[in-house]
Amino acid sequence: MTERTVEILEDSDRFVFPWQLAIPNTYPAGVVGSKFLIELRDNKKIKGIKCPECNQVYVPPRSTCKYCFGELSELVDVSDKGTLVTYAVSYEPTPVQPVEGTPVIYGIVKLDGADTGFVHMLGEVDPKQLEIGMRVKAVFKTKKKRVASILDIKYFKPLKI
């Protein structure tokens, strides 16, 4: 938030050197993570993974249970609808936000059939109307724009009853 001005540097005999490191990486999504992304892309379905030992359904799926550390493989469907657990409304643009403009609204949604919250954005809602406990539903991008990414879900919007 500090304003970096060129003046400070021009008015003095001190120099700072701007440098932008560009570091290419590839991140494996893992076996169950990849299946989750494929389901988003191909079928607009949100998959969780079940630990039969602990009777927990995790979304997104991961290959190890955080309680018993057992290896997980039982992918299950969870709903594209859920309940808003918390939200945040970002009015300041950031260099990392994936969408144009502000506010960007973030939320954690407990999807029906899941035991964990799902972190994503909210849309088609006035920030003033946001309420914890409100029912929301996933809005997917069009088939053409889905590329097996968490952003294949555009956002969650309020579910009109």
């Binding site: 938030m1 500090t2 970096r4 400070i8 540097l9 003095s12 001190r14 700072v16 440098w19 490191l21 990486n25 991140y27 999504a29 993570g33 992304l37 995790y58 979304v59 997104p60 991961r62 955080k66 657990v85 918390t86 939200y87 945040a88 409304v89 970002s90 009015y91 300041e92 950031t94 260099p95 990392v96 936000q97 994936p98 969408v99 506010p103 960007v104 973030y106 939320g107 954690i108 964990t116 919250g117 799902f118 972190v119 994503h120 954005m121 920030p127 914890i132 990414s149 968490i150 952003l151």
Partner: protein
Amino acid sequence: MAERVGIVAVAQTKYQPNRDEVNAGELVWETIEPVMKEAGVRFTNDDGDGDIESIVTCSQDFWDGMTISSMGVMSFTGGHHATEDKIAEDSLNALFAAYAQILSGHFDMVLVSTHTKESMGDRSIIESAAFDPVMMRPLGLDFFIAAALQARRYMDKYGVTAEQFAKVAVKNRGNGMKNPVAQEPMNITVEDVLKSKMLVDPIHQLDTKPISDGSIAMILAREEKAKKLTNKPIWITGVSNCYETHYLGDRDLAECDALVTAARRAYKMAGITLPAKEIDIAEIADEYSYQELLWMEGLGLCGRGEAGRLIDAGVTQIGGKLPVNTSGGMLSGNPNVVAGMARVAESVLQLRGEAGERQVPGASVALAHGTTGACGAHQCVMTLSNK
């Protein structure tokens, strides 16, 4: 624990928004030189009695814009004369590592140095890179947005209010007025905080800390040596840390299980059974105002959902029963990473009776807390005593 480890020397820079006139190494030297002088110790390769044997550094590579950021400051930290290790989390963990090095029997005296020049980097980009790159990072999360998710959940679950958060900002920035190293002390009102710009709802501009540059150095020594080096050693009596699970949706963000665990272990080491009664002052990471309240609960200084009432009642003010963040806290301006050792620096000053205008009379047991990552992902707790 039979053997004790004492902090024998402490120095911190004044925290400032943009130290363009010094590089990271020069910033580090501003605090290393005074602690070496205070303790009367030196760097040589002779391994003599007055030699620093080990140095633990603490910096974050993304803030420094440099892989292995300890290398960038090495010629100033004395790493070419001693054993050197680098910690990448909050600097409270660097003190933990130095403490363990001494208790292990390997070293009698260890120098700990931490620095961050937040002005060198972009907070949002750096924090975003800490998130799982497949499931969370593409969403554009940073720690600020994550903090807002946590604050909202905390408000909803326990009925804590924006006014109570604002009271923390007012108290801490007010305490900062009495601390010569504070960056942005302010005499403000709750209304000022609530009227300041809403950045990420529910967090206002004045609920957050300013961008800050600074460094801290400390020297730790085994008991016998500590007593030779200073007549006011401050003893580390307990320390522990613990992690939360990474995926934010896995957590109830109104809870802080890792902090509860870290605190329980630290108190057990220190023999503290009633923390709210036995601790005289607490320095708690308050990058966002709500965090002071939530972490107080995690630290067992009050029951769940009770911290809001304590701030209302003035319990945590200087002059209250349990002063919290007499230094002015992170809200008055401390860099990330450095923040945890800033909490200890204030604790040491208070326990030595050297905290000037903000001195809490008779303070003898202090609690210092540091955290790293989104929503208190990693939590470290240390207790200190002057007895």
